[in-house]
């Protein structure tokens, strides 16, 4: 039990109270719940298994050599592509980011990596986006956010030219 799950449970309880108060029919609600859950669940298990193995295969040490401050803006595309390739949740993504930070990755590269992972996270696309919203939404969204990791990294680079604020202090 973590805080996030408790927040979700409280939210659900509140919504159920409102639904009862408004005398909603629970039949259709339960039907929609079952439909959506069964749509997500089998994909979730198989995609998570795939994601865990792929994350294990990413050559983290080799990549971190290209992310240092001396790589300058060239580090951004490397970081963006690496972020794209991490098909796993925040535990693994931030653990990888911490490895990069410890081996001297620049702040701009780290911002690019985290932003790229957060907008593209392949496991999320496969588990949630495609089954719930479909391919045309995925196409629209990916085309719209393509520049976002580079904008974030570029802004971090510019900030870094002026201020020395924002350096990462990775966990142990």
């Amino acid at each position: 039990m973590n805080i996030g799950f408790i927040v979700l449970l409280a939210l659900l309880a509140g919504l159920i109270v409102i639904a009862v108060y408004k005398e909603l029919d629970f039949g259709p609600i339960l039907k929609r719940l079952f439909e959506q859950f069964i749509k997500l669940f089998p994909r979730m298990i198989s995609a998570l298994a795939a994601a865990g193995f792929i994350a294990e295969l990413i050559p983290k040490e080799a990549i971190s050599g290209y992310l240092g401050a001396d790589a300058g803006l060239l580090a951004l595309p490397v970081a963006a592509v690496t972020g794209l390739m991490v098909p796993a949740g925040p535990v693994i993504a931030f653990a990888i980011a911490a490895i990069f930070a410890k081996s001297g990755a620049s702040t701009a590269a780290l911002v690019t990596f985290i932003t790229s992972w957060s907008v593209f996270a392949a496991h999320r696309i496969m588990i949630y986006e495609l089954p719930l919203l479909g391919g045309s939404f995925l196409r629209l969204r990916v085309s719209s956010v393509l520049v976002i990791p580079f904008l974030a990294g570029g802004l971090a680079f510019l900030v870094g030219l002026v201020f020395s604020f924002g350096g990462a202090v990775p966990m142990n």
Binding site: G4, L8, L11, L12, L15, I16, A19, K22, L24, G27, P28, K31, R32, F34, Q36, F37, I38, K39, L40, F41, R43, I45, S46, A47, L48, A50, A51, G52, F53, A55, E56, P90, A95, A98, L110, V111, I114, T115, S118, A121, R124, L130, P131, L132, L133, S136, R139, L140, R141, S144, V145, V147, I148, A152, F165, G166, G167, A168, P170, M171
Partner: protein, 203 residues
Amino acid sequence: MRPFDFLRDRDWRNAVLKDGFGVGFWVFVGVAVLAGLACYVLKGPEAFHHALVRDIELVFGLVPRVFVAVSIAAVIWFLLPRERLSGLVGKESGIRGLVVATLAGAVTPGGPASAYSLLTVLATSGADRGAAVAYITAWATLGLQRVLVWDVPFMGAEFAILRIMITIPLPIVAGLIARRLPLTLVVKDENEKQEEVDTNLHK
């Protein structure tokens, strides 16, 4: 009518199971087997075992959360005043709609199960394409819960603050791009078949 009557409907059961165990599921099973084999061969049995145990723990941790998140979205689906929502984040909502969507994304609690379930509700209730993209981009990059639980402990507070300050305008940029892209958007929704959401915009 009793609430669980739909479970007795054989056609419904078959359709739902076909949906859940469709082509997508088997593709992922295939990818998982291949990636698992590659992991075993390239990284050795220990890495394979490590990844497998972590996967299993993740699945057990995720099942209750996904169930609760999908329940929330199912209740909201029937509670939400659709007309008011399309005024707030619909096609005519301009920049304000994108700002509202960005704020909503940043404060949505929980993981992808809740965010994507809510996005489905939004996208099929009159939110325009820009707002939908801004919402999910904001949740992914700015989610407050994410920042507090992951960014701050893993990377330090200073880095987290810098990243957030830089990222705040970006979901709005993504939404503006989404509004201008000449792509047809058809959001699928099983309750109302295939609903044409946004085709008039670029005629």
